[in-house]
């Protein structure tokens, strides 16, 4: 029984190595190459720990938030990364991601499968303070990458400031302490031509 649990846990560890192959649209901050989901996930988990003081909910369960972030993109191993501003790609995104979650979390021992699947769903539903703050980190991160690469992915896709501001609403809600920083950053990005007005 113990061995069966370990076998399943190790199979999961092996499987999720695939996250390192899922490329995002954002470039590394030196512009050298596109970032992958594993790198992105590590970075936003650190951000969640670092920026907690700016969160709306001071009683936030940070361990839960970090756990959520560390596994939130695993579905993209099967479903791929859908660019935030790609309307068509979003049409069947949910179906693809649910199937992926069932397969990937399904590798775990039953109790962990259920708990981790629930955590992923909580993130996707975005209703709890933890899910909202986690989403704020997930949304803020590519904005930083774009800003520091002079809008490399924004420019490649002709992204407009209005669309980015809409996605930043969750930062204002879940991490209000960062709102004016984000506002200034986007103003500067437009002024410098990184982002379409």
């Amino acid at each position: 029984m113990e061995n069966e649990r370990i076998t399943k846990q190790i199979a999961f560890i092996r499987e999720i190595d695939g996250l390192k192959h899922v490329l995002r649209q954002a470039y590394l901050m030196n512009g050298e190459r596109r970032e992958n989901d594993a790198e992105h996930t590590w970075h936003i988990a650190v951000m969640a720990l670092l920026l907690q003081e700016h969160a709306a909910d001071a009683a936030l369960d940070l361990k839960k938030t970090v756990h959520m972030l560390l596994v939130h993109d695993l579905v993209e191993i099967d479903a791929g990364d859908t660019f935030a501003y790609d309307v068509q790609g979003h049409a069947d995104k949910w179906e693809r991601e649910v199937a992926a979650a069932k397969r990937i979390f399904g590798l775990l021992p039953e109790d962990q499968r259920d708990a981790w699947m629930a955590l992923w769903l909580e993130f996707e539903e975005g209703r709890t303070p933890e899910a909202k703050y986690a989403l704020a980190m997930d949304r803020l991160h590519p904005v930083l990458h774009n800003f520091y690469t002079e809008g490399k992915a924004w420019r490649a896709h002709g992204v407009r400031a209005e669309a980015v501001r809409k996605r930043m609403a969750i930062v204002a809600e879940a991490a209000p302490g960062l709102e004016s920083f984000v506002h200034s950053l986007l103003e500067e990005a437009v002024a410098k031509g990184y982002l379409l007005p």
Copy 2:
């Protein structure tokens, strides 16, 4: 004041992007390319969450462990990755890493600088249950990568089973539930020629 804190926190977030450029000796599990520190760090943070039931200390502070893991390799942005079995590279490793920790954590607001630096030191000293369990994850991870790539990095460096077993002592101590799994894995690695006997 608030703005100065955010400026420092964002500078830190930007700086640590460099972890994605620090290459390790281990290959991704499909053998395609070498892994970088950001990917490795993400992976072991998930492992820590997943394998907690095998830890020696059931009362382990998992949030602290994960925080520790997420930042433990940041010093390698300046100091580089030292291969586990490279005796020469280890000679001045400590000095290089302390200087790196001072510079990188020094970007943070003072309270966070002190807290995060302390967490890094706690990991390096390896005395608390959290530090021991974190180290066990950090040591187990490349063994899995080596096993699933048929010993790619082990063979490249002529690593012997004895040296790996010595490094696995911390797994037996801090995550005894995994000891027999690791023992079997190494036996199999030797039998299959992935690792020198």
